[in-house]
């Protein structure tokens, strides 16, 4: 399936700037974005991984993790072969950072699978890698299927305008807060902290059901001052926001 990408601008002749996420990739004709999900084809930005999923599985919602959202319910889960951050500690790098086998799951097929396997709770989670790099697919699916609850498990790394367009269609989110220091986001993830904090605030303001995940990496993001900063940031938003403190496992690449 082919779909023109949203959120980009023409720079000069056929050079494009993608405006979906704060990376603002500058793409000459034929170039692929840093997330490997978007490509400049003759001066048009295409969502090249539209509807291409690395896998499809049925999980308990606790595994997302979401603990305060329909506990014990089952949720169909799928994700793209792309991510817009490059975390040195990625726990899923074979499908997020490298080319992996995918299968086409058209929005219509996805709706049928959900109806078949999750009839008691029509809900789907876009997860495993970075669903925000599947922007057009998720938005198209959500618009056509308002009865299905949309869950995103995400790094929260997106620009405000596309987030605002997507949020009214999203029921629940788990956002990764990887650290409270800009230097960690810059050196370990090749991104920035502030957009993530800004987007967490925006999701709370929009009233989406939100939970947060913090992957604790000993010695890298667990200094007492950093933990306290994270605690205070969340408490100021809402002291009841669930926080999942997750253990890092060494990945041998």
């Amino acid at each position: 399936m082919k779909r023109k990408a949203m959120y980009y601008r023409n720079e000069e002749d056929t050079t494009l700037v993608c405006e979906l996420c704060p990376k603002y990739c500058v793409l000459t004709d034929g170039a692929l974005g840093g997330c490997r999900a978007r490509k400049n084809l003759g001066g048009i930005l295409m969502a090249t991984n539209y509807a291409l999923a690395t896998g499809l599985s049925l999980d308990r919602i606790e595994k997302k993790p979401l603990y305060h959202y329909y506990p014990g319910s089952r949720i169909l889960s799928l994700g793209p072969n792309s991510c817009n951050l490059q975390c040195s500690f990625c726990q899923n790098y074979q499908i997020s950072q490298m080319h992996a086998a995918t299968q086409e799951i058209s929005p219509e097929f996805l709706r049928d699978v959900i109806a078949q396997h999750c009839a008691e709770a029509l809900q789907v989670a876009f997860t495993y890698t970075e669903p925000l790099t599947w922007y057009e697919y998720i938005l198209d699916f959500a618009r056509e299927n308002p009865e299905v609850r949309i869950v995103l498990v995400t790094n929260g790394y997106i620009n405000p305008r596309p987030l605002a367009e997507l949020l009214p269609h999203v029921s629940a989110m788990n956002i990764d807060l990887k650290a409270m220091s800009e230097s960690f986001y810059a050196s370990e993830c090749r991104g920035h902290l502030e957009p993530v904090l800004e987007n967490i605030r925006a999701c709370v303001a929009a009233g989406v059901h939100l939970e947060l995940t913090f992957l604790l990496i000993p010695g890298l993001n667990d200094a007492p001052s950093e933990l306290m900063a994270m605690r205070d940031f969340i408490a100021e938003l809402n002291p009841e926001l669930p926080l999942h403190v997750s253990a890092y496992h060494r990945i041998i690449r």
Partner: protein
């Protein structure tokens, strides 16, 4: 990046710091299921019991504590 794997003790001590101000803090991705239950913020009653394979929900329909009626954060119905 080379970092040692996270031990349960690391998670436990971080959770202690977070719980000074936050109500719903959990440990994940651990061999133990020590940090997975939801307790009532008012009376401490266990509202949701979780293990790695199973979830037991003791909340009333709309998501309130069966003992004291305090509403739990979240969406339940």
């Amino acid at each position: 990046m080379i970092a040692p794997a996270t031990k349960t003790e690391h998670i436990a001590s971080a959770i202690k710091v977070f719980k000074e101000s936050l109500v719903n803090v959990y440990g994940g991705n651990l061999p133990v299921s020590d940090f997975m239950d939801t307790l009532c913020r008012s009376c401490g009653t266990r509202l949701i019991a979780r293990t790695h394979g199973k979830t037991q929900n003791f909340l009333n329909g709309e998501g309130s504590c069966p003992q004291c009626g305090t509403k739990a954060y979240g969406v339940y119905a």
